[in-house]
C-alpha cells in the first residue's frame, strides 16, 4: 500500500498543508486560526484530501511543525509559571549578561524576564562545579515553599550545576509532584542539561511557560484529527531538524521553537542530496524575515544555543537565549514587506519594520503609503502587476512609484527607479552581510557554495545575492512556497542528547566517559524508539572541544577509540581546519558531549543530468539592469515552459503562481527533471 504522509506547518500568517501520495504532492495554504490552530489544519486537510481524492483514514503519518511556541514567547501569552532556583541566584534570568545590546541608546529598555521576580523562589542548596553537594537540600523547606505555589499552573526548577548533579532538582520535583499531580514540572537537568546558568534557566522557564498551552493544543489536535478520520500517529518537527513523538513534544515543547524554519532547512538539505551538492547556503525569504542556513554534506549546520523573541530591530542580544539542539540559522528582518526609509544621514534603510499583510506594500492599494521591498521589486520590473500571487492580488505600480518617490526619492534627489534600486540593493546587502558573518561564525568560506532559494520573496532576490556573495550557482526547487511543510516529510526521527562535563585530555577518565556516553545513548535511542520501534537507528557522537582557556568550542566527531591520544588528534585536525593552525603546548578539553540517534534519511534518487535541450527566449519584458542602472529588455516565460534541459539566458524572468525567479545578466537558467530551476553563472 502506498504510504500517504501529511505535512503541516503553522506559520504566522498561513498554515501550509502538503499531502504526499507516493511521489505526488498536493498542497494548500489556509489562513492561520490563532484561537484554535487545529481548525486551519482540519480545513487544509479536507482540501488536500479532496484534491488527491484520498480519505483521511488512509493517511499513514502526520508530520507537524509550528510557530505557536515561538509566538507564545514573543507575545508573552503563556502559563502562570513559577521558577525555583538556588538561594543567592534568584535574578539570573533578569540580570542576563549585564550588558546593553545597543551602546548608544540612553533610553534603552531591556526585555522583561519571562518569569517575574515575585514568581521566582529560592531554596537553600548548593552543588559545586564538580557535582559535589556543598549544602544538602532540606525537604521541609521544599514543603514550606510548596504551600506558596498553589496558584501556579506550571513550575520550572533550575539549580546551579544541575547538569553535573541533578539530584536536588529530582528531589524537589518528587515532592511537588506528590502534592500537585496536575501541575506541569520542567527540570533544567532534563530540558537543557548544559553549563551556563542563564541559558539553561531561561530555556527551562520557556519550556514551563509554553507547556500547558502546547500540551492542550496537541491533545486537542490529536482528538480532532481522529474525529476527522485521520487516526494515524502524529509526529512533531523539532528545532534540531528531526521528528519527535507527540508525547515528547508535550513534555519538552520548547524543542518546537523554530520548527517551521527547521523544516525549510531540511527541505533544502534533501534537494542538496538529490543534486549531489556538498556545500549549500539555504535562503528562505518571506514577507517579514529572511533565514539563512549552511548545509554541509546534505546536513544542516546545528548549534546548541539560539535566541528568540528579539525585541529591538532583530538585534543580537535583545531576545532570550534558548539552549537546545537547533538548526543554526541567522534570521534578519528582511522580507518582501520590509519598509524602506531614509535616516538622518541620508542613508537608505530597509526594514526591519514590515508592512505585514495589512496594509501591505503600497502596491497592494490597501492603504499602505510607505514603500516596501515588494514595491521596489515591482518598479524594477521583477514582478508582473497583473500576475502577482497567481493574479489574486493586482498590484498598482503608480502607488509604488509615489511611495518610493515620497519617502526616498525626494529626500535623496533620486527618481523613483533609482530609489527602488537603492532600496532593493540595501535589503540584498543586509542579507549578504548576514550570510557573510554567519559563515565566519561557523568557520566557513562561502566560495564554492551553491544557493538554494525558497519562500515567496527569495527567488526575486537570490540572483543578486549570489552576485554579492560570489556564488556561481543557484537552485530554485518546485514547491518553494510550502518548503517547510515538504521538509517535514523528509525529516528523520532524530533526537540529540547532550551533557556538559568538562574533562581535560591530560586527565581523561575513559571509564567515566564510557558511562556518560552509554547514558546519552539510552536517552537518545529511547526517544527515537518511541517514534519508530522497528527502524534501524544510527548514532553519532560529537565532542565539543576547545583549548583550556578558550571560550568557544568546536565540534569534533568522536574517533573510533575512546582514548585521549586519538581524541587529541581529531581535535587538532578539526581546529587547524577551521583556524589554520593549532596552538602548541596547550591542553584540549571536552566541554559538552552530544550523542544523536536517528533513523536513516530516505534513500535519494539522484536527479539525472539534464539532456541538451532547446534554448527559450520568452516574451520581452523590461527589467532593471544593475550594471547599466537602467531598464533593459529581458526574456519572460512561465516556469512550466522550462522543461528538462531547456535553457534561457539572463536577464530573464521565470514566473509561476507562488513566486517569480529573476535570472541576472551573465547567468543561465536550465530546467531540471525534478522541476528545479538550475541557474549558473555563464563561464
Amino acid at each position: 500500500m502506498t504510504a500517504i504522509n501529511l505535512g503541516v506547518d503553522i506559520g504566522g500568517t498561513f498554515t501550509d498543508v502538503v499531502l504526499e501520495v507516493g511521489e505526488r504532492l498536493h498542497s494548500t495554504k489556509v489562513l492561520t486560526t490563532y484561537a484554535a490552530p487545529e481548525e486551519a489544519i482540519l480545513a487544509g486537510l479536507a482540501q488536500v484530501c479532496a484534491q488527491a481524492d484520498v480519505e483521511p483514514a488512509r493517511i499513514t503519518r502526520i508530520l507537524h511543525g509550528t510557530t505557536l511556541a515561538t509566538n507564545a514567547l514573543i507575545e508573552r501569552k503563556g502559563a502562570k509559571t513559577a521558577f525555583i532556583t538556588t538561594d543567592g541566584f534568584r535574578d539570573v534570568i533578569e540580570m542576563r549578561t549585564e550588558s546593553r545590546f545597543e551602546q548608544y541608546d540612553l533610553n534603552l529598555v531591556l526585555p522583561d524576564p519571562l518569569i517575574a521576580r515575585d514568581c521566582r523562589f529560592t531554596l537553600h542548596e548548593r552543588v559545586d562545579a564538580g557535582g559535589n553537594v556543598l549544602i544538602p537540600l532540606d525537604d521541609a523547606e521544599v514543603e514550606a515553599l510548596a504551600a506558596r505555589l498553589e496558584d501556579f499552573d506550571s513550575i520550572a526548577i533550575g539549580f546551579l550545576h544541575s547538569y553535573a548533579n541533578p539530584e536536588h532538582e529530582h528531589r524537589v520535583a518528587d515532592i511537588l509532584a506528590a502534592r500537585f499531580p496536575a501541575k506541569s514540572l520542567s527540570l533544567s537537568s532534563e530540558v537543557s542539561p548544559q553549563i551556563r546558568e542563564y541559558e539553561r534557566f531561561n530555556t527551562t522557564c520557556a519550556n514551563a511557560y509554553v507547556r500547558p498551552m502546547m500540551a492542550d493544543y496537541l491533545g486537542r489536535l490529536k482528538a480532532r484529527l481522529a474525529e476527522a478520520g485521520a487516526d494515524c500517529p502524529v509526529f512533531l518537527m523539532h528545532s534540531g531538524g528531526g521528528l519527535m513523538s507527540l508525547e515528547a513534544a508535550r513534555q519538552f515543547p520548547v524543542r518546537l521553537v523554530e520548527s517551521g524554519p527547521a523544516g525549510g532547512a531540511i527541505f533544502a538539505a534533501d534537494l542538496a542530496r538529490r543534486h549531489g551538492l556538498d556545500r549549500v547556503l539555504s535562503f528562505d525569504m518571506g514577507g517579514t524575515t529572511a533565514k539563512i542556513c549552511l548545509i554541509r554534506g546534505g546536513t544542516p549546520k546545528t548549534a546548541r544555543v539560539f535566541e528568540v523573541a528579539r525585541t529591538y530591530r532583530f538585534k543580537k542580544g535583545s531576545g532570550m537565549p534558548i539552549s537546545i539542539p537547533v538548526i543554526d540559522m541567522v534570521e534578519i528582518g528582511a522580507g518582501g514587506g520590509s519598509l524602506g526609509s531614509v535616516d538622518a544621514l541620508g542613508r537608505i534603510q530597509a526594514g526591519p519594520e514590515s508592512a505585514g499583510s495589512e496594509p501591505g506594500p503600497a502596491a497592494y492599494g490597501r492603504g499602505g503609503s510607505r514603500p516596501a521591498v515588494t514595491d521596489a521589486d515591482l518598479i524594477l520590473g521583477r514582478l508582473d502587476p497583473d500576475n502577482f500571487a497567481g493574479g489574486s492580488i493586482p498590484l498598482k505600480p503608480e502607488a509604488s512609484e509615489t511611495a518610493l518617490a515620497e519617502h526616498i526619492g525626494q529626500r535623496l534627489d533620486l527618481d523613483a527607479l533609482t530609489a527602488a534600486y537603492g532600496l532593493s540593493e540595501m535589503v540584498d546587502e543586509n542579507m549578504a552581510n548576514a550570510a557573510r558573518v554567519h559563515a565566519v561564525e561557523n568557520g566557513e568560506d562561502l566560495a564554492g557554495y551553491t544557493m538554494i532559494a525558497f519562500g515567496g520573496a527569495a527567488p526575486l532576490h537570490a540572483g543578486r545575492l549570489c552576485e554579492k556573495l560570489g556564488l556561481t550557482r543557484l537552485l530554485v526547487p518546485p514547491g518553494a512556497g510550502v518548503g517547510s511543510a515538504i521538509g517535514f516529510l523528509r525529516a528523520p526521527y532524530a533526537y540529540e542528547a547532550t551533557r556538559s562535563l568538562v574533562m581535560r585530555l591530560d586527565a581523561f577518565d575513559a571509564e567515566a566517559a564510557r558511562e556518560l556516553l552509554a547514558a546519552l545513548r539510552d536517552e537518545a535511542e529511547s526517544f527515537v524508539r518511541d517514534c519508530a520501534p522497528e527502524a534501524d537507528i544510527s548514532t553519532e557522537t560529537v565532542l565539543h572541544m576547545r583549548y583550556r582557556g578558550q571560550g568557544w568550542d568546536i565540534p569534533v566527531p568522536l574517533p573510533d577509540r575512546l582514548e585521549a591520544g586519538a581524541i587529541q588528534e581529531a581535535f587538532e585536525a578539526a581546529y587547524s581546519n577551521l583556524f589554520g593552525r593549532t596552538v602548541a603546548g596547550l591542553v584540549p578539553e571536552v566541554t559538552v558531549w552530544a550523542l544523536s540517534a536517528a533513523t536513516p534519511l530516505r534513500p535519494i534518487e539522484p536527479v539525472a543530468g539534464a539532456p541538451a535541450g532547446e534554448t527559450a527566449t520568452g516574451t520581452e519584458r523590461q527589467l532593471f539592469d544593475a550594471s547599466t542602472g537602467a531598464l533593459a529588455a529581458a526574456g519572460a516565460l512561465e516556469r512550466t515552459a522550462l522543461g528538462d534541459g531547456t535553457v534561457i539566458a539572463g536577464p530573464a524572468i521565470v514566473t509561476e503562481a507562488e513566486t517569480t525567479i529573476i535570472v541576472p545578466r551573465g547567468f543561465t537558467a536550465k530546467g531540471r527533471a525534478d522541476g528545479t530551476i538550475d541557474i549558473r553563472k555563464s563561464s
Binding site: D91, S99, Q103, L106, G422, N433, V440
Partner: protein, 530 residues
C-alpha cells in the same frame, strides 16, 4: 548620492563586524571572548577611521580611532604583508593590557588603508592586573609601536621577549595571533569589495562617509543652544578623593569639553591617559546628541576634549595607569552634570559608572589560580525611565557566567543577585546594584584584589532624585575592606560585596503609585517607609 557609495559604507560596517567576530572566536583571554572587551575598525590611507564594529566598549572604540595616526608617523615605509603592534597606553587605548594591532591594506600594489583592532589581555607581566603599581614600568611589558610581521615574517625576537616576560605566554601569543588574523579577515573582504565596485582605493568612499558624518554631527550640534556649563563630581580615588571638573561650551560646529580644575595624578595605578579621557567624554556627548550617527573620525571630530597635562585625566608617562577604567568610566557622569544644564531632561542621573571588577589570587595545597570577574551596578534613572538593574554603563562589556567562572578555578560564588533598596529614589528610580559573595573551597586561601569606586561617593540623583546606595566591601567576619587594592582573606572566610545602585531622577513624591506598587511586589524596594 550614489547607490554604490551607500552600499560600500554599509559593507564596511559589516566587514568590521566580521573582523570582530573572528577575534572573539579565536581569542583566549576571558576578557575578550566572554566579556567582549575589544574593538575593530577600518581606516583610509591617511589614518581616518571610516567604520568601527559596534561590538566593543567605548574606551577601545573611540581611543583606537586615534591610534593609526601614531603608527603612520612612527613606522615609516610600509609593505604588503606587514603587521604592526603596540600596547603603549598613550598611543593605544590607555593601559598595557590592551594590545593594538594594525595591518596596512594594499590593493593593486598600492597602499590604500588600514585595519586595526584592540583587545584586553588577561596578563602582560609586571605586578599583574591591579592598582598597586607606582609607575607604568611596574605594570608590565611595554611594546613600542613596531613591526610584528615584516612582509609576512613574524618577528621571533619579539615573541621570545613577550613569552619570557609574561605569566601566561601561550594565551598571550595566541591572542596576538588572533588579533593579526582578524585584521586579515577584514583585509580579504575589503579587497573583494573594491574589486566588486571597480574602485582602486578608498578615497571616494572615505570622502563620502566623512562628509556625511561630519555634516550630520554638526547639524545636531548647531541645533543646540549656544551655552557653557560646568560639571563636577567627587569620587573615591585611591590614595585620596578625586575631583573631576568639566566645562562644556557649545559652538556652531563643535563642542568644547575641558577638564581644567580636575585633581592631579594619583601615586597609584588609576591614572588616565588623555586618549582614554577623550574616548569616554566623546561617548557621553555622542550618545546624548548624535546616537544614530556611526562612529568614525569625522563624527568624533566635533567633540573637542582636553584635560590639563598632569591631571588624573591626562596623566603623562610614566604614571601608573593599569586601572584607568575606574576613573575613565566615571567621566560620562561628570560630562552629564554639565550637559544637563544645557539640555535639561535628556541625560540620566549618575550611575554605578565603573565596572565592579575583582580578581582573586587563590592558593591551594598544590596550585595557584587567578580568577577575574566583570560585574555591574545599577545605571542612573532616565528622565522618563527607571535605571537599568545591574547593567554596565558606559562600558559595553558582559559578565561571565557563574558556572563558567567556577570551572576556571577553585572559587565558589555564593551569591550574585539584585540588591534591593539600592536604587536612588525618584520619580524614576535608579537601577539596582547587586550583591555578590565569593569564597574558596576548604583547604584554600585567597587574596582579594578590589577595583571599585563609589564606596564614599555614591551616585547622585538628578532633578530632585535621591542617591543610589554606595559600594560595600567586607569580609564575612564584618571587617570592612577598601574599594581598591589587595587584601588577604583568612581561610574559612568569604568576601561580601554590595555593588552600587544608580541615582534617582525627579522628586520621589511624584513617583506613580503603580510604579511603587510594582517595586514592592517585585522586591526591588523592601523599605516600609517607601
Amino acid at each position: 548620492m550614489s547607490v554604490a557609495n551607500q552600499i560600500i559604507w554599509n559593507r564596511l560596517i559589516a566587514i568590521v563586524e566580521e573582523q570582530a567576530q573572528a577575534l572573539v572566536r579565536t581569542a583566549f583571554s576571558t576578557s575578550v571572548r566572554e566579556a567582549g572587551d575589544l574593538s575593530a575598525g577600518v581606516y583610509d590611507q591617511a589614518g581616518n577611521m571610516l567604520a568601527q564594529a559596534v561590538t566593543g566598549t567605548p574606551g577601545h572604540v573611540n581611543a583606537m580611532a586615534e591610534a593609526v595616526g601614531h603608527f603612520i608617523r612612527e613606522i615609516g615605509e610600509m609593505h604588503e604583508g606587514d603587521t604592526y603592534i603596540t600596547n603603549d597606553p598613550w598611543k593605544g587605548t590607555g593601559h598595557l593590557h590592551d594590545i593594538t594591532v594594525v595591518t596596512p591594506v594594499f590593493h593593486k600594489a598600492r597602499h590604500v588603508g588600514f585595519f586595526a583592532c584592540t583587545a584586553h589581555v588577561v596578563d602582560i607581566g609586571g605586578r599583574g592586573f591591579g592598582a598597586d603599581g607606582d609607575s607604568v614600568y611596574e605594570e608590565g611589558l611595554q611594546i613600542p609601536i613596531m613591526r610584528f610581521a615584516d612582509r609576512g615574517m613574524v618577528d621571533e625576537t619579539l615573541i621570545r621577549i613577550i613569552r619570557t616576560n609574561t605569566r601566561t605566554p601561550d594565551q598571550l601569543v595566541g591572542d596576538i595571533y588572533a588579533l593579526a588574523a582578524c585584521n586579515d579577515v577584514g583585509l580579504a573582504r575589503l579587497r573583494d569589495t573594491l574589486e566588486e565596485y571597480g574602485a582602486d582605493d578608498l578615497e571616494e568612499i572615505s570622502a563620502f562617509i566623512l562628509d556625511a558624518s561630519r555634516t550630520a554631527t554638526i547639524e545636531r550640534i548647531a541645533a543646540l543652544p549656544r551655552a557653557s556649563a560646568k560639571g563636577h563630581m567627587r569620587i573615591d580615588g585611591y590614595t585620596a578623593p578625586v575631583d573631576l571638573h568639566v566645562r562644556l561650551e557649545t559652538h556652531d560646529d563643535h563642542i568644547l569639553c575641558d577638564f581644567a580644575g580636575t585633581s592631579g595624578t594619583d601615586p597609584k595605578g588609576i591614572n588616565v591617559p588623555e586618549v582614554y579621557t577623550r574616548a569616554y567624554a566623546a561617548y557621553a556627548l555622542k550618545c546624548t546628541i548624535a546616537p544614530d550617527i556611526p562612529n568614525n573620525t569625522a563624527s568624533l571630530e566635533p567633540f573637542r576634549v582636553t584635560a590639563p597635562r598632569g591631571s588624573i585625566l591626562n596623566a603623562p608617562r610614566p604614571a601608573p595607569v593599569a586601572l584607568r577604567h575606574i576613573i575613565g568610566h566615571l567621566i560620562p557622569d561628570t560630562v552629564f552634570d554639565a550637559l544637563d544644564q544645557i539640555l535639561p531632561g535628556r541625560v540620566p542621573a549618575e550611575g554605578a559608572g565603573a565596572l565592579c571588577n575583582f580578581q582573586l589570587s587563590i592558593f591551594g595545597p598544590e596550585s595557584e589560580h587567578e580568577v577575574l570577574t566583570f560585574n555591574s551596578g545599577g545605571t542612573g534613572a532616565r528622565p522618563t525611565l527607571d535605571g537599568l538593574n545591574a547593567t554596565a554603563f558606559p562600558s559595553g562589556v558582559m559578565t561571565m557566567p557563574v558556572e563558567a567562572t567556577e570551572h576556571s578555578g577553585p572559587v565558589i560564588i555564593w551569591r550574585k543577585e539584585l540588591r534591593a533598596d539600592s536604587g536612588g529614589e525618584g520619580t524614576c528610580r535608579g537601577g539596582l546594584g547587586q550583591h555578590m559573595e565569593v569564597g574558596v573551597p576548604d583547604g584554600h586561601r585567597f587574596v582579594f584584589s578590589a577595583m571599585f569606586d563609589r564606596v564614599d561617593h555614591p551616585a547622585r540623583g538628578r532633578a530632585g532624585g535621591g542617591a543610589g546606595a554606595p559600594t560595600i566591601v567586607e569580609r564575612s567576619d564584618g571587617t570592612r575592606l577598601g574599594g581598591k587594592g589587595r587584601s588577604a582573606v583568612p581561610e574559612g572566610q568569604t568576601v561580601r560585596l554590595a555593588f552600587p545602585g544608580g541615582g534617582g531622577y525627579g522628586p520621589p513624591e511624584k513617583r506613580p503609585e503603580e510604579a511603587r506598587e510594582r517595586d514592592r511586589r517585585l522586591g526591588y524596594v523592601s523599605r516600609e517607609d517607601e
